[in-house]
Amino acid sequence: MKEHKGVRINKLPSGVPGLDEILGGGLPEFSFNIVAGAPGCGKTTLAHQFIFANATPDRPALYFTVLGEPALKMLRYQQQYSFFDAEKLNNAVHFINLSKALVDGGLQGVLKEISKQVEKSDARIVVVDSFRSVLRSEQHDGREMAAQVFVQELALLLTSAEATTFLIGEYGESEMEDNPVFTVADGLFWLYQQVERNSVVRKLQIMKLRGQMSVPGLHTFRITDSGLQAFSRTLGLMARKPKAAIKKRLSTGIATLDEMMGGGIPQGDSLLIAGPSGTGKSLLATQFIAAGIRVGEPGIVAVFEERPEEYAGRAATFGLDLETPLEKGNLEVIYLRPLDLSVDEMMQEILDAIERTGAKRLVIDSLAGFELALAPGFRIDFRESLYRMIFALTGKGITVLSTLEMVESFTELLFSTYAISFLTDDIVRMRYVEIDGQLRKILMVVKMRGGAHSSDIREYRITSDGIDIGDCLRDYTKLITGIPTRTKGPQH
């Protein structure tokens, strides 16, 4: 391997969960960065998270405010976030208003004041909010050159002072071209707030980052009481090992179904349980989770159509104790229904739960509910996102069971309405059939990527002990149409 002889660039934590991974490990020390975007998209909060994560009395941060949000109001609102540490105020974090310097001395007045304050405090982090306000004072009547010189001088000053800098500005994308600020900057972070039908979706893009590889593209983020949280579009799994050839089989909790599948579900597979409402898809998924718990394999259930507290209660009616593992922490039920969810965000929730529980099994109940919980803009990419998510999870050795609601047709057998069969390794299809004036249920293993499986079409019943799979219905044909014909015994 070639030895790296270049200067080593320290990486500072951004203070924003998920962002360091997008940045390629953190923010390069001494970098001169622009945070751009429309008002209200989280620029100031991002800068605050950075300063509170990094500033110390020995390495203080200076936060310069200019003709924007009054500093007292900014403090009033920012202290609502959990990352805000009042102990650091005037100790490690200093807020300084530059309005007078700008009004009295213009750009040079600002430069002089920043220089004075940085020298006085030996600041290692500098934020100017809003930098756009500073430049606006000169960007008129052919004074663009003055602004360009100012940006250049400021970059030199702060880099020489060994400061890592954030300049915050309300910029539109159309202003990207020929803007000296963007040319000088080492890092350019663009925050977006997009309205899609009734949903608001926040996204960020690292348009430029000198010195290290960041993850390209648009990444979703959310602003909560803890500030910004970013969700990498690589789903946090870019650097992890690819799926290994694991041969272990996991029990579904239904011995006959395990048999039909050739010994259970291969670990790390993605299994789709498809069928119409009431056929027992969720019950099968619950039995799969309970079977894992019994053999010491923690699990996660992501539900979209019922509340977590109802989930364990419903399992108990089938004799499955999920309360105990929930209390012990080797089972988590994730309930997400914010209506403007992104797949990346869901993935982060699952990854966090895997980290907490050491889960080996994951149930997504159901894909239709999951899709409905997504913001409209994300639904367009649902198949692609689902593919990335399932690929990433199974690559970690997690066995994923997803349920899929199907609208039943009595003339044909669809494997799924999403055309996502190719995403899954294994498919079990459940459906209704009409036999002897009764609506009965059948299931079949449609696909097992890992090997041979039964071709039986078996009848099953839902009992108080769960799914009870009976014999193969050999006396009938056209079972998969839902209206079979008896081949032996009395004809219909």
């Binding site: 007292l72 403090l75 009033r76 009042a86 105020l89 005037n90 530059l98 007078k100």
Partner: protein, 139 residues
């Protein structure tokens, strides 16, 4: 503090700030002098934090509120740079009212912990202070 009056603990805190600055030999003028000193000492860090205009607007609001309680302050004005003008020996108690309103406004905007942090930076001897009207410890 609310819009109708000053929390007694903030009033006590203001009085304590005045006593820390009260070095004048003429006792009748002690409070006035101290109020000027407290205001001046607050002016520099708050102007740094919020800008000269920011501090000036805060002090002007405090003065407006204080004048309702102490009409003797009618002649007092806030200069362009945020310093006080016209506060003399006649307004013995009024100075404390003005400072109480100034501290009260700060507490309203940025909360007790940050306000106390700012005050402690200026007056390190100020300790054991509780601005909450429900607090157990009196000043």
């Amino acid at each position: 503090m609310n819009r109708n009056g000053i929390n007694p603990k903030i009033r006590d805190l203001a009085q304590r700030l005045l006593s820390l600055e009260s070095t004048a030999e003429n006792l009748s003028k002690a409070n006035t002098f101290a109020a000027l000193m407290v205001s001046e000492k607050l002016r520099r860090p708050l102007s740094t934090l919020a800008g000269t205009a920011g501090f000036r607007s805060l002090l002007m609001r405090a003065l407006t509120l204080a004048k309702r309680e102490a009409p003797v302050l009618d002649g007092v004005q806030v200069k362009e740079d945020g310093s006080l003008e016209g506060l003399d020996g006649e307004e013995t108690e009024a100075g404390a009212v003005l400072i109480a309103h100034l501290v009260g406004l700060l507490e309203t905007f940025i909360g007790e912990p940050l306000t106390l942090r700012l005050l402690n930076d200026i007056w390190p001897d100020l300790s054991g202070v509780d601005m909450s009207s429900k607090g157990k410890e009196s000043i």
